[in-house]
Amino acid sequence: MSKSISRRQLLQWSGLSSASLLLNSCGSNLWSKEVGQAIEPLNQATQALLLTQKPVPEYSIDQIEPDKLLINTFAQTPQIDPAKYRLQIEGEVNHPMQLSLGDLQTLPLTSMVIQHVCVEGWAAIVQWGGVRLQELLRLAQPKPNARYVYFKSADGYYESWDLVSATHPQTLMAYQKNGQSLSADNGAPLRLASPIKLGYKQSKWVTQIMLTNQLMPKTGYWEDRGYEWFGGL
């Protein structure tokens, strides 16, 4: 026999290397992206079907769990001067606006005690107080073609919501938590709060609300890294 590699050997080796390829991928994502892409349209359609404008039942004040709300940030915690803070509302609206905290506080205050659910698996019953996003959008008047709402935060975080979820009566731009003004860790001066979306959808330190008629390639900080976009509860 010559030194050249026999056909059988070659086949064995190629078999081994493809097996190791498979094993390697076991440790990492193993088609999880493809599985997500295949099933997400069905999951999203189901969630949209379950979504109504009916308020989710709320909890009583004494059921609040102050210690259970954990702090998650992807970068640093921005310190925002409340006096200089402005909220921009723009995009597909008839009346682009710029609101100060004082402006926001003159609008009707809505308080709710709801369950905040994090994608990680924990949940906390929290009281949030703020302005209904519905109310802000009523003032800004979305154009008929507006379908999505983008939120930009002072720390560079970004999110996008469907307009139906954004106008849910319990979707608030909150400036109070558990009866007190929001702390910087929890998103002061203004953050999203809602019982109908997972925690990563509820941006903190929101400085800009932009309505669009379509989803842009970037849909959200965590979504662009693999979490599902709709994130409905």
């Binding site: 599985v35 969630q47 989710v56 698996g121």
Partner: protein, 202 residues
């Protein structure tokens, strides 16, 4: 009962056979449950049910998906196969009246208590075990749905009192299913040897 009673002893006993729906159900159930189990442990590790962030994590080789988002993708894909499989099989069992002959009944309980026939007792125990798993299968769907959609299905989630109970009930399904797979297989072996198991999967 008449068909189960041995009549004349022959050299080659009739091989056990299973209906095609029963085979499809078993295959789909086994595969989707294992996908849900390993991806579920991936999800568990993001925030352990017991101990939260400082809780003990399952080793990587028991997880599927690579990280939380991947685990969720697998989990929420497999749930459709698992739940719809249970649904159509449940309907089939009702419509075909299989529930009258294939599941545990009072006569099995009686056999376990008074029968002197070891084979009959094994058979009764096996029927009792696989009948008892049905409520567990349904309970894991209910607790899973309650956690997946706690706002839309608030009524369902609130049946479980609070979030921690909901998570615990859902997680308990893992050891139960593993135990059940072993016990179900062992009892099937005792009742009908390897031929019975082959008849269900081949």
């Amino acid at each position: 009962m008449t068909s189960a009673r041995p009549t004349k002893r022959t050299k080659s006993p009739r091989l056990p056979t299973q209906t095609l729906p029963a085979k499809i159900f078993h295959w789909t159930n086994l595969i989707s449950l294992f996908v849900m189990l390993f991806s579920g442990l991936q999800i568990y590790n993001a925030n352990p049910v017991f101990g939260g962030r400082s809780g003990w994590n399952f080793p990587d080789y028991l997880t599927l998906g690579g990280w939380l988002a991947g685990g969720r993708n697998w989990h929420f894909a497999a749930m459709w196969f698992y739940a719809l499989n249970l649904l159509w099989y449940g309907l089939y069992v009702m419509v075909s009246r299989r529930w009258q002959i294939r599941y545990a009944s009072g006569s099995d309980i009686k056999a376990l208590r008074v029968s002197q026939n070891a084979k009959r007792k094994n058979y009764a125990l096996h029927r009792l075990v696989y009948t008892a798993i049905i409520p567990i299968l349904v309970l894991s769907i209910a607790s899973g749905l309650g956690m997946y959609k706690p706002a839309s299905l608030h009524w369902l989630a609130s049946l479980f009192v609070d979030w921690q109970t909901l998570r615990t009930v859902h997680f308990i399904a893992v050891p139960i299913f593993i135990l059940f797979t072993f016990v179900h297989s062992l009892l099937a072996l005792r009742v009908g040897s390897i031929r019975l198991i082959k008849s269900m999967f081949v």
